[in-house]
């Protein structure tokens, strides 16, 4: 979420989910909302069908939510900056932007204007494949929305240009005065239940909890004092996408992996497996013997969400309680007590009476959580920032001013995806999820019912490509990229565009990430899961 942080000074969903109820226009891009965030999609669908809100969907796939859209633009994979700049071009050209807002609350408008000047609808059509008149219509519709909300997901961020894509969306929203208003905003829908919380809690190499920079000596001193140590490391650490290759080169010797399964979720999986082989010491703490755990030197059995106390922070920054309903199986223990025990054995004793005591300590060193306590969120969660105990929480960020003063327009040029199709690899592959599974499937694939609905991996392919390749519904096909190859059954469907295929990434047996490209966005470190070049043939 580096793009949002750069623009507004804060990198999470700007508005509460309930703001969708107040939006006049909603723009969804890079989010298969009905399958990945079903309950949020219901808010959107209700807004359209019951209140007459107007919906724009920009997605190469014909997703369920696109059936509710007034305008559905189907761009070529990896061309997001181009269509976003194109919309801004039309909006500026036709004088549809919010001039008072731009003047009083933003900087960098002139540079933006110069940059988007060349992104005429015709030029954008040549890159994105979106007909120029449709692009212009979408631009006018978005600009007419008072207020207009933007929702996006991994289809925007999982590119080498992901940070650029987000900055461009953030600029579009500011241009029309939609940030810091109820019903508007730029809203990343977080994929996993507690991504927001993991980031908020300092699960990032360069910040402590509450995004307090480790490079700042004053903050380092504050944390060292709170934690009772003489000093804390100064240098920002490695991102996960750097750690794994560095296992191969020997700079990383040991990994402690808690509740993650990188050996299905990582890009360019064959290479990731190879890197893991080089680790001298791998510790995995999880509820199942995952693909990653099988490679571990020590496996620590932990408790699932139903077996422990604590909090999760949802995609709208709402801090909500997790409560223990049942006991963990066998000798499995909750992660909290495992971490404390391990830390104590490492010579740094940790002792807490329970999760609430940890929360209280965390809140005392984390300004955005400082006003929160279990008592306050007993009945209903509260969205941070919540700096003091009588603060009501903050459903809408940036009201009146941005976290760092003025909102910054970034003038961003279009860069093609890292890998483009050629004669050898003539199809674009994009990856994603299906309704019935979650992430690497370690939880959902234990459910007979969910497996019954979505039993195996598939390749979605357009009827015209299927015909050319002699592939029919249900044919077993082999999909090959420069990095690897998998087998799955074909689903012939106009949901995808000609020239592209879609594969869900959940399935370990046919892991789509054997194909994907590990090239990273240089700022966020997010890999380009959403586009790479492949070829497809009937399985031998």
């Amino acid at each position: 979420m580096a793009g949002l942080a750069a623009t507004y000074g804060s990198g999470s969903m700007t508005n509460a989910i309930s703001c969708i109820e107040k939006a006049d226009v909603i723009l969804i891009t890079g989010s298969n909302t009905t399958e990945n965030h079903p309950v949020i999609s219901a808010y959107v669908k209700r807004a359209v069908t019951r209140r007459g809100a107007r919906l724009i969907v920009v997605d190469p796939r014909r997703t369920k939510i696109s059936e509710f859209a007034q305008i559905h633009l189907r761009q070529n994979l990896g061309t997001d900056v181009a269509w976003i700049n194109g919309m801004m071009h039309v909006i500026i050209q036709e004088g549809l932007y919010d001039k008072p807002y731009v003047e009083s609350r933003t900087v960098g408008f002139e540079e933006l204007k110069r940059m988007v000047a060349k992104f005429t609808p015709d030029f954008v059509e040549s890159i994105t494949g979106i007909p120029g008149d449709q692009l212009a219509a979408a631009a006018r519709l978005y600009a007419s929305g008072k207020p207009a909300s933007i929702l996006y997901c991994m289809g925007i961020t999982q590119h080498t240009t992901g940070t650029d894509n987000v900055k461009a969306l953030a600029a579009l929203a500011m241009l029309c005065g939609n940030v810091g208003v109820v019903g508007g905003g730029v809203n990343p829908l977080r994929g996993q239940n507690n991504v927001q919380g993991a980031c908020d809690m300092g699960g990032l190499p360069d910040v402590y909890s509450g995004y307090q920079k480790v490079a700042d000596p004053a903050l380092r001193a504050k944390m060292a004092k709170a934690w009772g140590v003489a000093a804390l490391p100064e240098k920002p650490g490695l991102k996960v996408t750097e750690m794994i290759p560095k296992a191969e080169s020997g700079e990383i010797k040991a990994l402690y992996v808690v509740g993650e399964n990188p050996l299905v979720s990582d890009p360019d999986l064959n290479h990731a497996e190879h890197c893991f082989q080089h680790l001298e010491f791998l510790v995995v703490q999880d509820i199942f013997l995952t693909e990653t755990a099988r490679n571990a030197h020590v496996v620590l059995p932990s408790a699932c969400f139903a077996e422990k106390e604590g909090t999760f922070t949802n995609t709208e920054r709402r801090v909500q309680r997790v409560r223990k309903a049942v006991a963990p199986p066998g000798d499995a223990r909750d992660d909290l007590s495992i971490i404390c025990d391990l830390s104590t054995r490492l010579g740094y004793p940790m002792r807490y009476e329970g999760a609430e005591a940890v929360f209280a300590e965390m809140a005392s060193v984390t300004p955005s959580y400082a006003g929160l306590s279990y008592a306050r969120i007993e009945k209903e969660g509260i969205p941070w920032p919540c700096p003091v105990p009588d603060h009501p929480g903050t459903p809408v960020l940036h009201m009146g001013s941005f976290s760092h003063g003025k909102g910054i327009f970034f003038a961003i040029d279009y860069i093609p995806p890292a890998e483009t199709v050629d004669d050898d690899y003539p199809l674009y592959l994009t990856t994603g999820r299906v309704l019935y599974h979650y992430h690497t499937g370690t939880m959902t694939m234990k459910s007979e019912g969910l497996m019954d609905r979505a039993p195996e991996c598939f390749v979605e392919i357009h009827p015209s490509d299927a015909k050319n390749l002699g592939v029919a519904e249900g044919t077993r096909v082999t999909v090959t990229s420069r990095r690897g190859s998998i087998e799955a059954v074909a689903r012939v469907s106009p949901r995808v565009r000609p020239g592209m295929i879609f594969i869900p990434f959940h399935y370990a047996q046919a892991a789509a990430n054997r194909l994907t490209n590990a090239r990273l966005d240089p700022i966020s470190g997010i890999p380009e899961f959403k586009v790479c070049a492949v070829k497809l043939a009937k399985a031998a």
Partner: protein, 379 residues
């Protein structure tokens, strides 16, 4: 309250202020005046289908459905007159007689209870009372209004049960055609999977083309199951196995996607046996998706790890916590001494709690001495 009596309604003799556009039912609920309903679904437009919520309005020729009648200035409403009670009893009587409502409330005449019970047992392939016995709005209201459907013969069953999907049993013989499921599907979740089909006595809730749910647009969110006031829509897994008085509920947060739906885990004998959406709080107000509602099997999966494992050569073997944790601590300490703390990396998780993530961040930086901590959310 308006000084000149504007926007004031009189309910059971007391004046109450209302907002223009509010229905009689809404005003009454806001002031804790109990008007029973069956078909009314919060958050969806009223249909007025069941007529249980009728009230007497002074000066009106007939009883009015309070869910569909806007409050009016000076309107005088009575919610529990003999006429109202008689009308409700008649509605409930017909409903109770209309299907396999084999709870102890239903008392068929002469031919006695046994005949009906045998018929239902045969059709249900079960030897028990209705699967939602004790958790049924119709049963509750029948009890409140002392209705037994004594005057009616057991109804014929027109449509067989639908068992052909993994999640939901559709039992048309217990359907009272209140339409709440349709409202839940079309107005709340907007999945538009079901609607009324056929006419008159043959009225049935159907997916397009009267196909089974598994071949329809249904996405198994289960909103309809939670909305059904009777035993016509029931979670397959809980049917006959879970009785409400044998379970306790724990309010918690869904562990799948980032919406963070609030839900209740229903627990019996130390196992999660059912999940329902929490209706009174953000962000989901009762809604869930198929993963949150039906994806809980993993909690009690036999594949769960139950003991620490340590590697001996090529295989992992069981170990005690002491052995495993010592091995971890020794391993990390040795590498730190030899190669420095930055040779160690920690991957925390979007799956674990804030408290656990906070402690991992503390462990990495304060105990191990490295900022190499990240999570896989970017993936």
């Amino acid at each position: 309250m308006g000084e000149d009596g504007q926007n004031v309604i009189i309910i059971n003799g007391n004046p109450y202020a209302f907002e223009p556009g509010e229905t009689i039912l809404e005003v009454a609920r806001r002031h804790d005046i109990d008007i029973p309903t069956l078909c009314h679904l919060k958050g969806a437009p009223p249909t007025g289908a069941c007529r249980v919520c009728v009230v007497e309005v002074e000066g009106a020729a007939s009883l009015m459905a309070s869910c569909a009648t806007p409050a009016g200035s000076g309107m005088a409403v009575h919610t529990e007159t003999p006429k109202v009670v008689a009308a409700r009893r008649q509605v409930l009587d017909l409903m109770l007689a209309s299907g396999n409502h084999n709870c102890t409330i239903r008392q068929p005449d002469e031919a006695d209870w046994t005949a009906q019970q045998l018929k239902v047992m045969q059709e249900d392939q079960a030897e028990e009372l209705c699967p939602v016995w004790g958790d049924c709005r119709l049963q509750e209201l029948a009890f409140r209004y002392q209705v037994t459907a004594k005057r009616y013969d057991p109804a014929k069953t027109l449509y067989p049960q639908e068992l052909a999907n993994p999640f939901i049993v559709r039992d048309f013989s217990r359907c009272i055609r209140c339409g709440r499921c349709i409202q839940a599907c079309n107005e709340v979740q907007v999945n538009n999977a079901i609607n009324f089909g056929f006419r008159g006595a043959a009225l049935k809730i159907v997916a397009a083309g009267d196909r089974p749910l598994r071949n329809s647009d249904c996405v198994f969110c289960g909103e309809c199951v939670q909305a059904c006031p009777v035993g016509a829509l029931v979670e397959k897994d809980t049917r006959y196995r879970v009785r409400p008085w044998e379970t306790t509920r724990t309010r918690t947060t869904c562990s799948y996607c980032g919406v963070g739906c609030q839900l209740d885990l229903h627990v019996a004998d130390g196992r999660v046996v059912r999940v329902t959406g929490a209706e009174d709080v953000a962000p989901n107000y009762g809604s869930l998706c198929v993963k949150g509602r039906f994806g809980y099997d993993f909690i009690h999966s036999p594949e769960r790890l139950t003991t620490p494992l340590v590697r001996d050569g090529n295989h992992l073997r069981e170990a005690t916590w002491d052995e495993a944790l010592d091995r971890v601590a020794t391993g990390f300490k040795a590498i730190r001494e030899r190669d420095g703390a930055d040779a160690i990396g920690v991957l925390c998780s979007a799956r674990i709690t804030n408290e656990e993530n906070y402690l991992l961040n503390k462990l990495a930086r304060a105990a191990l001495g490295t900022n190499n901590i990240d999570h896989c959310a970017r993936l």
